[in-house]
């Protein structure tokens, strides 16, 4: 790719970026959110047209008008969100778009399975072609995606944040697969912001920032520190969390159960507790009951049974405002689904939950001057980049709106904070900032329940860690005992052999 430039309106997404890729090479592209990595790959895969610049494959000038053109030139892409037909089998998914036929019109299921087995043998990937995709764990589903690309004879494979949804063990498998494919002569582009993985597999690393190519280095000549410096443009301080004595109990959950209206047992007798001055992490692959646990604690859904004591007071079945009023703040796991309204302006987003406090309303009338002052204060204190108070939430970048939500919740000054995926999809700078704020709550004697699917986040912040699996806790660790291997094993439902 030579001198690729892409303009979205006045936004320069890619600024004169060039890129080369050799046969059998693994190239990693790293950069913060909005650095232009995805845009560049979309151009290569024919999803977007560059404003200027050219693409050469095997020295031949190519002009991709759609992904079909790119696929024909041997380019395949594994998207972050899988595009699979869940009720269908692995084999059916893989051959989709180029199905083997019998008598020209009928789909040949047996032959499809045969092709897939052959494919697996060739690339050393194991999978049962007859398995239904919905019964496969996430790691296998990703393997199906990779096989799909291989089936279409891709020579260049683009992997977009492939490890984001995987457990540590699955990540190891994936990295092995990537190395194996490269050894067989495939060229691979890996987009990620996890630098450890980059150092594990990549041959060459390209760093992007603000749409520009900042640097290109060989793996052997660089280090994680250098890469993160290049990505962010400044040195990141290593985080040191001082040990702190925990105080009296803030949250106590006993035997909490929740059965969904569809009669699914989602929580099966959960017991956890959080004390003053401690951050308690809950690790787990998403979908193991964490969301329901949070919603039970915050009063958004009513649990089926059990006890939730907040500061000694039973809050089960209490409405959300009452739970919040008795001292709970909540950073929600999904900022657009729950944390704000896209079409609300910044003031309206910032004041939610505060609006019934006497400082901001009296007898049902809002004190608009105070509210605007409060919002302005939040925006400056938490460095939320904005142009005016009447801007809509959807006009802010994801990281900035997340900072505003964190600001809103922490500024309640409540003793107990539920932080669910507090840094999902935000860049390193914002992530650091949010982590600092959460630690601040702790050092002021507050209690934090941190739920995250990002293991590094759990490991670096938590004083104590629970692992959730299948609707219950599957192990508890102190900071010293926990390692990502142990957690990963328990997250998959395994047991530790003492």
């Amino acid at each position: 790719m030579e001198n690729i430039t892409k303009l979205y309106g006045s936004l320069l997404a890619n600024d004169n970026v060039s890129l080369t890729l050799d046969k059998g090479e693994i190239l990693a592209i790293v950069g913060e959110n909005g650095a232009g990595k995805s845009t560049l790959m979309k151009i290569l895969y024919g999803l977007e047209m560059p404003t200027s610049g050219e693409i050469y494959i095997n020295d031949k000038l190519c002009d991709f008008k759609s992904p079909m053109d790119a696929i024909r030139q041997g380019i395949g892409m594994v998207q972050q969100n899988f595009m699979l037909f869940n009720p269908f089998t692995v084999a059916e998914n893989i051959v989709y778009g180029k199905e083997p036929r019998s008598h020209r019109i009928f789909f040949d299921r047996r032959k499809a399975a045969e092709i897939v087995r052959e494919l697996c043998r060739k690339y050393g990937l194991e999978i049962d072609p007859e398995l239904k995709v919905e019964d496969c764990p996430v790691g296998l589903q990703q393997r199906v995606e990779i096989l799909k690309v291989l089936y279409k004879d891709a020579e260049i494979i683009i992997l977009d944040e492939p490890s984001a949804v995987l457990t540590p063990q699955e990540v190891d498998e994936l990295l092995k697969t990537i190395k194996g494919l490269a050894a067989l002569g495939k060229s691979i582009i890996l987009i990620t912001h996890k630098l450890q993985e980059v150092m594990d597999v990549a041959d060459r690393i390209m760093v992007m920032r603000e749409g520009k190519r900042i640097a290109e280095v060989k793996k052997t000549e660089t280090s994680i520190e250098e890469l993160s410096y290049l990505m962010v443009g400044r040195r990141l301080a290593a985080r040191k969390v001082e040990k702190q004595k925990s105080g009296k109990n803030v949250l106590k959950i006993e035997n909490l159960t929740y059965v969904t209206p569809e009669k699914k047992n989602v929580l099966k007798g959960v017991n956890i507790h959080v004390d003053e001055g401690e951050i308690v992490g809950i690790a787990g692959v998403s979908g193991n009951g964490q969301s329901e646990l949070i919603q039970c604690i915050t009063g958004m859904i009513a649990p089926t049974g059990g006890k939730i004591l907040l500061d000694g007071k039973d809050i089960i079945g209490r409405p959300v405002w009452e739970v919040r009023y008795s001292g709970l703040s909540h950073i929600p796991e999904d900022r657009y689904y729950m944390g704000c309204a896209k079409d609300a302006n910044l003031v309206e987003v910032a004041i939610m939950g505060h609006h019934i406090k006497p400082a901001y309303s009296q007898k049902g009338i809002l004190k608009t001057t105070e509210i605007r002052k409060f919002t302005r204060n939040l925006l400056t204190k938490y460095d939320v980049r904005h142009s005016s108070l009447t801007q809509k939430a959807k006009e802010l970048s994801g990281g900035n709106i997340q900072k505003l939500i964190v600001a809103r919740e922490i500024e309640h000054g409540n003793k107990f904070l539920v932080a669910a995926e507090p840094t999902r999809g935000v860049d390193i700078g914002a992530m650091e900032f949010i982590h600092d704020k959460i630690l601040e709550v702790r050092s002021k004697g507050g209690a934090v329940l941190l739920i995250s699917s990002e293991l590094t986040e759990i490991l670096s912040l938590s004083d104590r860690i629970y692992v959730m699996y299948g609707g219950n806790t599957n192990g508890e660790f102190t900071r010293e005992e926990a390692t990502s291997e142990k957690l990963g094993l328990l997250m998959m439902g395994g047991k530790l052999n003492e």
């Binding site: 915050t298 009023y325 689904y337 896209k342 609006h355 019934i356 809002l366």
Partner: protein, 366 residues
């Protein structure tokens, strides 16, 4: 003018244009389609439009007609918006208007006492009846999950037939035309004050202005207004933030019904002085109000002007019928076309928004 004020002036103009361009473009298209239809009747559209708008907006007598007609339309638009902004699509404004104003009329006919007392009690009872009537739909929705849209729509018919029964039997005017299904005329002391001796324009119009202002205050300055707006924009966000959504649904629907009742009360106490069978159905006030609310995208000031414009279109259409061979229905056609073009824009926005949400999610994943 110095440079800075000039800049801010341009900024304000741009903002105004951005807010107004959608209804203006829709109006232009609506009028163009109307023009084509007028051409087919052999008349000159420019001529017809000229007559139509000159009359309904520039001649004092017709302007007052326009404002009289606009009164219930404005109030109906506000009633629609009061529920809609919280995500409750109340298309039963007509039914609430009938129940509310019919209750008020019945009270005015049978209560005795000082006029100001009777008038106040009648209006309050009428508003309560309208509120209760719309709350039925809200309660059914909360209890059984029925659709508010469908319930309120069906309840329009129920309301009209209930009132129809009363004006045909127990409350039928004993002195008037024996075929006319209508109540007796309410006492003269209860009539709304007229603003001009020459026309029907009365203080009902000032009430409409007052309700618009009150609605602006409620929606921008109160906790209730804030909570209902957030519920409308994202119910999950509101729930998460501690908003009691059952209460918001009940309150917004009740408010909507009460305002709808006022629309009917203004028309009866200010213009007709009696309830006539199906008077609000044939008048189409509620639906015109709904169109105005859609055209103005629920903005209170916008709804005020959109309602007045649509009322003017109807008054102009009536007057044109007398002087040319353009039927009155032309006004309805133009009005519907405008609404149609506005909703085309809304649908388009929705599709764009969905597409944007998708690419937004992609960007997020970057």
């Amino acid at each position: 003018m110095n440079n800075d004020t000039q800049k801010s002036f341009i900024k304000i103009c741009l903002k105004a244009w951005n807010a107004l361009k959608q209804p203006i473009i829709a109006t232009v298209f609506g009028l163009l389609i109307g023009a084509v239809l007028i051409l087919t009747t052999g008349e000159n559209p420019i001529n017809i439009y000229n007559q139509m708008f000159r009359k309904s907006f520039l001649e004092p007598y017709y302007l007052m007609q326009t404002l009289t007609r606009a009164t219930p339309v404005i109030i109906c638009a506000i009633a629609t918006a009061a529920a809609w902004r919280a995500g409750n699509i109340n298309i039963g404004v007509e039914g609430q208007m009938i129940i509310g104003s019919f209750t008020a009329t019945a009270c005015a006919l049978y209560l005795s006492g000082p006029p100001i007392f009777v008038l106040t009690v009648s209006i309050l009872l009428g508003m309560m009846a309208g509120a209760l009537y719309s709350t039925i739909a809200a309660a059914l929705n909360l209890r059984f999950g029925t659709s508010i849209v469908i319930c309120t729509l069906m309840m329009n018919y129920i309301a009209n037939y209930i009132a129809s029964y009363f004006v045909n039997f127990p409350l039928k005017d004993p002195h008037g035309d024996p075929i006319a299904a209508q109540t007796a005329v309410i006492d003269k002391s209860l009539h709304f004050l007229k603003l001009s001796s020459r026309s029907t324009l009365n203080i009902g119009f000032l009430i409409a202005v007052g309700i618009t202002l009150l609605f602006i205050f409620i929606s921008q300055r109160t906790v209730f207004g804030y909570e209902s707006k957030m519920t409308g924009l994202n119910p999950v966000f509101a729930h998460y933030g501690g908003v009691n959504q059952r209460q918001v649904t009940l309150k917004t629907m009740a408010l909507s019904g009460a305002i709808a009742a006022v629309a009917g009360i203004c028309e009866i106490f200010g213009v007709k002085y009696r309830y006539i069978d199906s008077m609000f159905v044939s008048g189409g006030y509620a639906w015109t109000g709904l169109m105005a609310a859609l055209i103005a995208n629920l903005d209170p000031v916008g709804m005020f002007f959109a309602s007045t414009f649509l009322a003017g279109l109807q008054v102009g259409g009536q007057s044109i019928q007398r002087t040319s061979n353009i039927p009155y229905q032309m006004a309805t056609v133009i009005q519907s076309c405008i609404t149609l073009f506005v909703s085309v824009k809304l649908t388009f926005d929705f599709i764009k928004w969905k597409r944007h949400a998708k690419t937004g999610a992609d960007k997020e994943a970057d």
